[in-house]
Symmetry: C2
Subunit: 657 residues, 2 copies
């Protein structure tokens, strides 16, 4: 599949955009007119730069407000178009995007429009230019791709075709099946963008909230499947207007963008494999397969080759089956490091000593493994620095990640040590892909392996329930795509949680459900607090944590209390509200109160949890899931944020009473 | 008018919120339940704190999902309510907000609802509690204030009344006239919020985009006029959910909030004065006055006293008639200061020497006066530090500003010097309210006064056309309200402009139109760039500028060029596009090209302008308005941003070629 990206997706100057697109591996770019007009580079310079970078210049865009106008204005428009055709010659671009009129359209007459499009195409032909006509979702008269295509068919000129843009089609909810009726050679260009499903005016939605494929909620694989079936084999190019991407680092955004197209190619091949099989079965009079079924490797390969548009696929991986470990960086000899070790002891974790060759220690509680790395963390120290996930085949998983443009983490391993492979997540966390936990034998006396030295009951079944990472706002969408494409975690509906310093957007990425086999990663987008504008040094929303599941929370809490664990204090008002809401038994409520426990309930079960004090940017949560409860105690999140804020204001984030 | 604010409007802990509300002068607060539940303060502590601060606790809210439910759930809801009534007794709050059911409503039966509301009110009466029932805009069955009021009337219990919330009523577009049919004593509470007119789902709109009165587009004075006519005399209380306010400094937000209610009081009195006069005239069979007419002082005073809800009014001021001066701070002896002085000389400004007693210099070009203050600016130096506006009566203008909670700027003046009065704008700019420009005589030889020493033609008519200030994102809405309430500038529709580092939201605040009598202030909300995430030190969007209008831009530009002024270089591609768009005469286009001039045109006229290099965070623009052109060359703004970005990347923000 030829990949492309519109320069408007990226921040910076035109030169920065072109270099970043080439570096990320795009086949070509669309030159967004404003980016050229504001550039000090001449058209010849731009052409030479693109050549030099091995980047195609695939489209010039947009040309606005051509059609549905009186003759005098139409002639002025042709003059304007001719200047652009000349410019395109200098740039070496052969296709221009013409979008349906939104500003000056005054005549609603399809015959006139077809005539005006024909006239433009005729003029374009003189300059060797092809015109791709697109219906904008908010076009005055033309806002539906089928209408645009009918006009192109009626205008009937070899230099005139249509451009399909997923946003303009899917935002309006148009049926995409009729795409297959358009001959592939009359589709001159395909633009793709994803978007969250928002109920707002389509223009604002388009201008500010588009995201890259896989970061929103549009069914793009189905769309692109229809396109592939037409025989189209041109660029599939991103056109994403997004307020955040416009500000973020251009090279990172380009990589994120490229990842989204690789993801889209793979998903499209999968969709086609399943859908082709279903159509065949249907034609043979058998029951059609379920469209959601996983295709076999053979079906996938066949689908990838079945159409003129080649669809590269990646090594397939199953979602991770567990959290192998979490690593915390904490500076050697720092008071915080001693505090962190004390916290782990008080939680019941057992130390397993030093790694053979690296400055790291292992602590375990049942299957929950935490590595303390005695290097200083970036930013606030200590901080969560790495996560390990259990995968079936780490070689395949790493190969997939690297093909998805994840940056490998350089590692040195000594002879006889497990070779662990890791890639870097958008927030800098190192993500390890682990096939087993044999590496634990490299610590201390070498008997810490879960297989060899299980923790005493009742903690044998303790494990990491979830990990909560704070995400920088510039890389939030990127993180969602990273974890869903690289790790095959599924994004759950996101939620806003109030805190004393603003709303925290919370996005759960999950694989599996229930017990130890579920992998749950919570990405928190913290508010844009600026320390100089809010009094005090408020950092609570940037805290991150590791949650440990235990079989009996009350018993664990009591044991922790005996060991002197500093609990996050929960206000009395909370228990009164809990009582008002649920009418809990007085004994149970007294226990919750006594132990600073939090409680939640839904239709499927109950949830008990508590939090520890914070050290640096890290704290711990201990949870017990009862019945089929699959949430995270979201109603209690404001309590947690406020208590952490109070503890910080009081100068002891430890939260000791 | 009794003023109030819901704790949810403000950031921080409950204690911080209460203190900030009291300090800003609010009469009372609504306790938002989450703020209490997350607080370590007991209800008794909260009550004592409020007492201590002289703050009323006027409402407990919200109580959700009471009505339209089966009997068993209703009984559980009553039990839940009873716990809250007890809690309210401890807090000393006598009114609870009950909002229409959105989560558990399953029975659409008005008789049942009235019965359930009656039952609740009966229980409330046992605890001395009054219930204010409100229709949420997205209530399952009840989402219209008239419906809510009918239910309250049907339920017919002295402890049951209704709560009117501007957002829930105006967001749905309900007619507000019927408010006058509700007896004032049955309105138990009034909540106000403004909002920009957005076309999006009403729940998201409500949760994230509410603003304080005067910062949005709802007609709140008309709404509150209807309420006043019912005889209502209870709290008028802000309930504003806003993502930014939740993060911003709590004390500043509280002041901004208080200012919005003072503004609303005044506007309501004005609305009533005009509307009462029109009704009287109507009743007398005469032509009703135009609702937009300005009320006479007598009408205004009468309206303020006519209803039980007293409406304080402020000293009335006309919008400013001109920009008196602009001041730039620039550190004494710094290279940038010399560069700035050179820039002013090259622009044609004449120096008028030192102030008698202060470390400031005056420069003028016709009526454009610029003061160079040799103190270092906060942040990037030099920077625009003060603006003077021409007002009719500076004493009244300052009194008004102070009543609107603007912070006065402390000033020392020597004997025989003009006493200039100033207040601080939200971004820290000092705003001077000037009755004349006699102060210029305090500079140099004392002959710089515009009256005494006019600049040579053609610059006699030169003046400050507009000033463009970068606004911190936390104070953008606050700035709009500040300039509209304190200075009587009118907000124009806002616009987004693209720059290499993100979209810049641009908001024009204006008084008058055409020539020298127009006052135009442009507030720019720059993207949230974080220096550490974008390579290079990109600060262009934070630049601010002063635009000087001249009668002949081409002549001025040539003179400036001769004097060696560093122009911001405009890319050649811009002129090619200009030609494609407008087909300008080759001579004219050549002149534009030669002089780095920009051009715009609309239905009313034409606009010519150019920019200088930037020094620190300041640059200048020179403009010529031809015909009735009232814009700012917005299509050229991306060119300017990109050229400034290029100049900065190249390391010479001066923009020299």
């Amino acid at each position: 599949m030829r990949t492309g990206i519109a320069t408007v997706c990226l921040s910076g100057t035109l030169e920065e955009k072109l270099r970043a697109a080439a570096k990320a591996g795009f086949g070509g770019v669309e030159i967004f007119e404003t980016d050229l007009i504001t550039s000090p580079l001449s058209p010849e310079d731009v052409r030479a730069l693109a050549d030099d970078q091995g980047l195609g210049l695939d489209l010039y865009q947009p040309f606005r407000d051509l059609d549905s106008v009186p003759d005098e204005l139409y002639r002025a428009n042709l003059r304007r178009a001719e200047a652009k055709f000349k410019l395109m010659g200098r740039l070496g671009i052969d296709t221009i995007l013409v979008c349906s009129n939104v500003a000056t359209a005054s005549i609603d007459d399809d015959a006139l429009r077809a005539e005006q499009l024909h006239g433009l195409a005729k003029l374009a032909a003189d300059y060797g230019v092809k015109v791709a006509y697109e219906a904008l979702a908010w076009g005055t008269y033309v806002n539906d791709f089928e209408h645009a295509w009918r006009l192109v068919a009626d205008a009937d000129h070899p230099n005139l075709g249509t451009c399909l843009d997923t946003f303009h089609i899917l935002s309006r909810g148009w049926d995409t099946e009729p795409i297959e009726q358009i001959p592939g050679e009359k589709i001159f260009f395909v633009q793709v963008a994803d978007a969250p499903k928002l109920s707002m005016d389509v223009l604002s939605w388009s201008r500010h909230y588009r995201v890259f494929p896989g970061e929103g909620q549009f069914d793009l694989p189905k769309f692109l499947g229809h396109v592939a079936r037409t025989g189209y084999n041109g660029p599939v190019s991103l056109e994403v207007f997004n307020d955040t991407f416009r500000q973020a680092d251009v090279e990172r955004t380009a990589v994120d963008a490229m990842r989204s197209l690789i993801w889209l190619e793979e998903r499209t091949a999968k969709h086609l494999a399943v859908s082709d099989a279903a159509r065949l079965a249907d034609a043979a009079g058998r029951d059609a397969d379920d469209d959601a079924a996983a295709p076999t490797p053979a079906q996938l390969a066949a689908a990838s080759r079945a159409y003129p548009m080649p669809l590269t696929t990646l090594p397939q991986v199953a979602p991770p089956s567990g959290v192998n470990f979490a690593e915390i960086k904490s500076a050697e000899g720092a008071a915080a490091t001693a505090e962190l070790e004390r916290l782990l002891s008080q939680l019941g974790f057992e130390p397993h000593g030093e790694h053979r060759t690296k400055p790291v220690n292992l602590w375990t509680l049942g299957d929950a493994r935490i590595i303390l790395n005695r290097q200083q963390a970036r930013g606030v120290d200590p901080a969560i620095s790495a996560l390990g996930f259990d995968v079936e085949n780490s070689v395949a998983a790493v190969a997939r990640a690297v093909q998805l443009k994840a940056a490998p983490v350089p590692r040195t391993s000594q002879a006889n040590e497990e070779v662990l492979q890791a890639v870097q997540a958008p927030d800098g966390t190192e993500v390890f892909l682990c096939q087993d936990a044999l590496w634990v034998n490299e610590f201390g006396s070498g008997v810490a392996s879960a297989e060899h030295a299980p923790s005493a009951a009742p903690f044998a079944s303790a494990h990491i329930d979830h990990i909560n990472l704070a995400q920088p706002w510039q890389h939030y969408d990127e993180a969602v795509l990273f974890y869903s494409s690289v790790l095959a975690l599924s994004p759950q509906p996101s939620q806003d949680v109030s805190s004393p310093t603003g709303l925290v957007r919370s996005q759960v990425m999950q694989a599996g459900a229930g017990g130890e086999s579920a992998v749950r990663l919570v990405l928190n987008l913290a508010p844009w607090i600026q320390a100089d504008t809010v009094r005090g040094t408020v950092r609570d929303t940037f805290q991150e944590h590791i949650a440990i599941a235990v079989p009996d929370l009350v018993e664990t809490a009591r044991a922790c209390r005996r060991r002197g664990l500093p609990f996050l204090p929960i206000p009395e008002n909370y228990y009164e509200d809990l009582d008002a809401r649920y009418g809990l038994s007085p004994d149970f409520l007294a226990t919750l109160r006594e132990l600073d426990l939090l409680y939640d309930r839904d239709a499927d079960g109950e949830f008990l949890h508590f939090y520890t004090a914070t050290v640096g940017s890290v704290f711990f949560e201990v949870v017990q899931r009862i019945g089929g409860y699959e949430g995270f105690g979201a109603p209690n999140a404001p309590i947690r944020h406020a208590a952490q804020h109070d503890a910080q204001l009081a100068g002891h984030p430890g939260g000791h009473r």
